[in-house]
């Protein structure tokens, strides 16, 4: 029975860790979404740099539970956004912004409890 109680303790620990991770991922996703939505025009290079710095600080932790494909996509779109801002490319900026928001939602997807995710 020792193994039974040990496995129950492990289950509780796992549940707590998953809960914390879920809250963390959602927090990062909300922050990214808010920051990206606040970038309304192409004259926002400083904000884009700040966004990149924030993501670079968080991506290793996010990568513990989110697939490399999604993490890489987010970084890619942030870089494209920043480059578009540097060049003053409005179309490129709008495209990168949309794709970045989509990638952020993808990152959040596995941390949401929904029937769509389960099936």
């Amino acid at each position: 029975m020792k193994v039974f109680w040990f496995s129950i303790a492990l289950l509780l620990l796992l549940t707590v860790m998953i809960g914390i991770n879920c809250a963390y991922i959602n927090n990062v996703a909300n922050r990214l979404k808010n920051d990206v939505e606040a970038l309304s025009s192409v004259d926002c290079q400083a904000q884009a740099d700040t966004l990149l710095e924030y993501w670079e600080a968080e991506e290793d932790w996010v990568g513990l539970s989110v697939g490399y494909g999604v993490v890489d996509r987010i970084k890619e779109q942030i870089l494209l956004l920043r480059n578009a801002a540097m060049r003053g490319d409005e179309q490129g900026f709008a495209s990168a912004r949309t794709l970045l928001l989509d990638a952020v939602e993808d990152m959040r997807r596995l941390e949401q409890f929904s029937i769509g995710n389960l099936i």
Binding site: V3, S7, L10, L11, I18, G63, L64, S65, G67, Y68
Partner: protein, 225 residues
């Protein structure tokens, strides 16, 4: 490549820990749940090794969950035996007192040819030699031959052989086994005295086994022969 290398190491040690915690029943696959868990674990464990896009947690978490589910279900089945009927089948008698149960064969979807094959593997040549054949929960067939077809045992021959005591390793690879000596109720001093009495040097022996009656069996090292 280094990622694959390190992930393989981590998954390997996680699997060993999990299988160790699940216990011998997992290796023996006594129940359907054990088989299912083993299959799932093997599939899940290989995913992050071959697919570096997946985080390691996508293997470790499911494996730990399977451990929890497996241990919990086996404990619940012990505490509530009636639940066993839900998750595992009962043994089915296929041959009862020499008579083939055709209904059981149909229910199990086993053909006579398959049954004959299993019986032959047990050393018998025909259904008529079988007293009982039982398909166990783990899918193995237990065959008990008729008394006339079974080799006689010592009691039937009127013999009274001495009961064999279990031999334990008491010395191996130049090391005394404290566990083995404890199991036979002896100590290192006794073993040394016994080896001396037989003119043996422990350093020249590869392995020594003994039972609680003091019987010894030894193997000499190859280079000493």
């Amino acid at each position: 490549m280094i990622t694959v290398f390190i992930r393989t190491l981590i998954v390997y040690f996680v699997l060993i820990a999990v299988m160790r915690l699940m216990g011998k029943r997992q290796i023996g696959e006594l129940e359907v749940t054990d088989l299912v868990t083993t299959l799932l674990i093997s599939e899940i464990a290989s995913l992050p090794i071959t697919n570096t896009d997946l985080p390691l947690s996508h293997a470790v978490i499911p494996i730990v969950m399977l451990l929890v589910l497996e241990v919990s279900s086996s404990c619940l089945l012990i505490c509530f035996p009636k639940l066993k009927n839900l998750v595992s089948a009962r043994p089915t008698v296929i041959i009862q007192e020499g008579r083939l149960c055709q209904k059981a064969l149909r229910q199990l979807r086993i053909s006579v040819e398959e049954l004959m094959s299993e019986i032959r593997q047990q050393g018998l040549v025909d259904l008529s030699q079988v007293q009982y054949a039982i398909l166990e929960k783990n899918g193995k067939l237990t065959v008990l031959p008729k008394a006339s077809c079974a080799p006689p045992n010592a009691a039937e021959l009127g013999l009274r052989p001495k009961e064999d005591a279990l031999m334990h390793i008491v010395y191996c690879n130049d090391t005394y086994s404290k566990m083995g000596l404890k199991l036979i109720g002896r100590d290192q001093a006794w073993l040394d005295a016994e080896l001396d009495a037989r003119g043996l040097d422990a350093r020249k022996l590869f392995c020594v086994t003994a039972d609680k009656d003091g019987e010894l069996f030894w193997i000499v090292k190859e280079e000493e022969r």
